[in-house]
Symmetry: C2
Subunit: 220 residues, 2 copies
Amino acid sequence: METLKETEKTKLGRARNLAVFDREMLYQVFDEALLINIGFAMDGQPFVLPTLGWRVGNKLYTHGNMKGRMMEYLINGAPCCVTATLIDGMVLGRSAFNHSTNYRSAMVFGSMKLVDDPAEKEEVLRLFVEHIAPGRAEQARPPSVGELKATAVLSIEIEEASVKVRKGPPNTKECDRNRDVWAGEMVMRQVVGPMVADELVPEGMVVPDYSAAWGERWES
Amino acid sequence: METLKETEKTKLGRARNLAVFDREMLYQVFDEALLINIGFAMDGQPFVLPTLGWRVGNKLYTHGNMKGRMMEYLINGAPCCVTATLIDGMVLGRSAFNHSTNYRSAMVFGSMKLVDDPAEKEEVLRLFVEHIAPGRAEQARPPSVGELKATAVLSIEIEEASVKVRKGPPNTKECDRNRDVWAGEMVMRQVVGPMVADELVPEGMVVPDYSAAWGERWES
């Protein structure tokens, strides 16, 4: 797979030593995060819009209300920056200074395009539902013409992009090696928990299990 | 507690009906998320910088390398937008269209200030360590003068801010009420997992438990 190219924009920022140019890793971050943050500036005022995003091939998709002001602005080609970040753990060092975070973070620069091909729009929305809950696109009612019309789907090509990863134990300075304090990583992750039925679900209906798409399952 | 005021900037965006003006809720989102996204524009190019942020009183703090280019830009008073978002669950509707997300999302507008008072700097960094791992500020070596100097601490006042919350079951259209499909919420959350000691930790050392600060504990 083609590696990501470094550009003036993607090489900016802290901790350059953590940058990796692995497209597969970048895909993984977006696939796992689901939550994306779209940064753009309107009349010089920066906004960060948190929303869901999903990847199909080398494109990242997002959706929203066709009438949303921010959507409209993005559709009109505003330059933007899309990030997704996964916190994998807190790194607990022997000194306060050597505390850190294990994370995977992806960033894409470019601008959004409105998906106006009805077939592509329908298909990527179907894949979105499947990404969240595999099998569900068959179970739920598909969107009507009116519903599709009310939904704006936007895409951005993953071209100018970067991904940063920190993993592993804390750094320890020479003077701290024998310090009497536990050090290592406190693992963190996002998990799916219980399925809470709404009040229209009849008693005895089988509860679907979509947790396979989300790694480990957590029970309260 | 004083409620948040609506302004031109904070009233922008989708789903106005989900906006709440509850400062306590906004505090909660930042306290729980830890991950913040700082949006700003450099020469018209938007960037979203994911980093950790923590709240003390009515200020939100973040830190980084004093020599970082983005840090320098923010310190110089660039307008920015700071968001934090918690995904509480996927809302599984009876139709694809009525799928949604339960979330809490906070947004602050303003600009960052460098914390140059050494006492404030030291104290808020200590509170940061305590926020991640209660008790740890006493256990780990405190920062040296040089380490403090190398660390930039920035703050932003929580003045122009908004918070949005979606919770509860999916919406169901009249035509879908009797559809034979399970509907409800797939709960999601961020949890702490195992503590992974680094290789300098001597055998038999007691492993600290900081999970109380993180709600439920997850075990793989």
